[in-house]
């Protein structure tokens, strides 16, 4: 299978005053298309920094990052925004939906920045909502939806532009165990449809849904099990 993500010797150094802190100390791994990867580790282990770099929200201090064959390290902010828009889908712990905006318009959001026309946007958004099992909730505002439903809206938003990878950052952190199971089985279903998913979590039972677990500690990978 082709590699969607290839990290080679990624380092990320934060400078605070005269103190330097190396959050990633030369991380290398690759993810193939169709994989479901859980990234684990305690807080401060570098997993969030790695996630930000994967999400093109941050750039590594050194090392090479190929996303879908493209060298992301050499791109400027506008190109990165474009990459985030076309290649990546984000799911956050806190859902991060626009309040006071109907669910379907939240799902449409990436398509607005991708430059789709309104009719096409609506068609794709409705299809994505169907895919996550939210048909009929299109016009509900996030405040009228349960946590699980809000996270489904966020997943639909991540799916809508056919990204190469979905990046989920503690997607079940704010959910109870029943809803967690629902969301995780949704991820599993989506993965079976061929969608690559990378998920950060610190819960072992959540990580167990993924086919591969990468464990971080102190800026290094200490475990990679399939």
């Amino acid at each position: 299978m082709s590699e969607v993500i290839a990290l080679t010797d990624i380092r990320r150094v934060f400078t605070m005053g005269d103190q330097q802190f190396e959050a990633l100390k030369g991380v290398s791994y690759s993810v193939s298309a169709g994989e479901f990867v859980a990234i684990m580790g305690a807080s401060g282990s570098g997993k969030s920094t790695c996630m930000n770099i994967l999400g093109c929200l941050d750039r590594p201090t050194s090392g090479q990052y190929l996303l879908d064959g493209l060298d992301v390290g050499t791109m400027d902010t506008n190109q990165l925004a474009d990459i985030r828009n076309r290649k990546l889908g984000f799911v956050f712990q806190g859902f991060n939906l626009l309040t006071r905006t109907p669910a379907v318009e939240n799902v449409e959001l990436p398509l607005i920045y991708a430059g789709f026309h309104s009719r096409e946007r609506r068609e794709k958004a409705l299809a994505a909502m169907q895919q996550v099992g939210l048909a009929g909730k299109e016009n509900n505002h996030p405040s009228q939806l349960s946590g699980g439903q809000q996270q489904r809206v966020a997943i639909a938003r991540a799916l809508v532009n056919n990204p190469a990878v979905i990046l989920a950052d503690e997607p079940t952190g704010n959910l109870d165990s029943t809803t967690t199971a629902e969301i995780m089985s949704l991820f599993t279903t989506l993965n079976k449809q061929g969608i690559t998913i990378i998920m950060v979590t610190h819960e072992h039972d959540v990580a167990a849904y993924a086919g591969r677990q990468i464990t971080f500690r102190d800026g290094n990978i200490i475990g990679d099990t399939k």
């Binding site: 902010t77 925004a81 984000f90």
Partner: protein
């Protein structure tokens, strides 16, 4: 991202905080309303002034006799009687740029009709005078050349004089006594209104020039006239006509070399220019005062936009993570600011125009609301939005998406 979508997002953002949006707009509303109202009042004032100046007549040059010295006392300008009816004839025949010239004499005295009396200005004039000043007859007939040649004792009343002596009755055909000499009223002049200096031009009686020279003015020679009023053929020829008159009269009065002229000329377009300039200065001043309130309103917009950017940091983070470019965010917040100011501008224009109408109704002061001032106000309100919206929008666009997403 297409502009319509940006507009929709901006509208939604403004709708979410209706009260705040309105209060923010209020600064711009008041600013634009005062600009519109001030400009309306100012241009109303300059309209009044130009009307008054037009009431004197157009392309006019005044020739005023100089001063004399008698027994060591110098009289003021116009004190000497150096101009004659022959000067008038010479100007008419020898100055090519002059269309018409008329001599006048001026006196004042008591006018009596029955048991009514009124103190007023008595002017001696010729038919040309009324032509130059574009002053028509409301009732009866005007002064003719025959009246002047024969020194007939007839008179034309200004509206103010007619009102005071006759009330609502028709004065034509009645006899009034001017300085105890009986004159037949042959007509009443049209209402002329105030002069630019604020005097009532209708508070005057006109009699034929020669009648006045013989009966009403004490002078050495009955041929003397006071001021001359001259009309140039066109506005362009005004200066040329003035030069021609100067050289002709200097020649006729044998004034050569360094000798001081015994007359002076005044060009009414100069007065007009000064008056226009002063009214323009007033409009500008009013406009400047109003613009200050616009700037204050703009600062209010900037303040609220900064608050809004801080409040919506998370939203900005989400949009950036999802693929919004910095320019998209910049444009979104700029659109919001411009929308605020333009909406405020529209409301302000309506309020300002309404206010100007109320002023003109209540104070009977003419106001002019020009399309120009409305479009300037509208463009200006948009410019205020762009100017004061830029800094907050740039701040929003410059946020780091990771920090923005984590912002609580």
């Amino acid at each position: 991202m297409d502009f319509l979508q940006t507009l929709k997002i901006a509208l939604r953002a403004l709708r979410t905080n209706k009260m705040r949006s309105f209060l923010t707009m209020l600064g711009i509303i008041i600013g634009i309303a005062s600009v519109i109202a001030m400009m309306a009042v100012g241009s109303g004032a300059s309209y009044v002034i130009s009307q008054q100046i037009a009431s004197i007549g157009s392309n006019i040059i005044l020739v005023i006799p100089g001063s004399t010295t008698s027994g060591g006392l110098r009289t003021g300008s116009g004190g000497a009687q150096t101009l004659t009816s022959d000067d008038v004839k010479a100007i008419m025949s020898e100055c090519p740029s002059v269309e018409l010239a008329a001599g006048t004499v001026r006196s004042s005295g008591q006018v009596v009709y029955g048991n009514m009396n009124w103190s007023t200005v008595i002017m001696g004039g010729t038919p040309e005078l009324f032509e130059i000043r574009e002053w028509g007859i409301a009732n009866g007939r005007g002064i003719t050349q025959q009246d002047v040649d024969g020194a007939i004792k007839v008179c034309l009343l200004g509206q103010t004089v007619a009102d005071n002596l006759f009330g609502s009755a028709d004065p034509v055909g009645n006899i009034v006594r001017i300085k105890k000499i009986p004159f037949t009223v042959i007509g009443v002049l049209e209402r002329k209104g105030q002069s630019p200096q604020g005097t009532d031009q209708d508070d005057t009686i006109f009699v034929p020039l020669r009648t006045a020279q013989r009966n009403l003015v004490r002078s050495q020679r009955t041929n003397n006239v006071g001021a001359l009023i001259v009309k140039a053929k066109s506005e362009e020829l005004l200066t040329k006509a003035e030069e021609e008159i100067n050289s002709l009269l200097n020649q006729r009065h044998r004034i050569t070399g360094g000798k001081e002229s015994d007359f002076s000329t005044r060009n009414l377009s100069e007065i007009l220019a000064v008056a226009e300039q002063s009214s323009k200065a007033m409009s500008l001043l009013l406009g400047a005062v109003a613009s200050i309130s616009l700037i204050v309103g703009g600062i209010g917009i900037m303040n609220i936009m900064l608050v809004s950017v801080t409040e919506r940091t998370r939203e900005i983070g989400i949009r950036m993570a999802i693929g919004a470019k910095r320019n998209d965010i910049l444009l979104q917040f700029m659109t919001e600011a411009v929308l605020l100011t333009m909406l405020g501008g529209l409301i302000g224009i309506v309020l300002g125009a309404g206010g100007a109408m109320v002023v003109s109704r209540m104070l009977e002061w003419p106001t002019l609301i020009s399309f120009q001032s409305i479009s300037i106000a509208f463009v200006f309100s948009g410019a205020v939005g762009i100017f004061f919206g830029f800094y907050p929008a740039r701040k929003a666009a410059g946020l780091n998406p990771i920090d923005a997403l984590r912002y609580e």
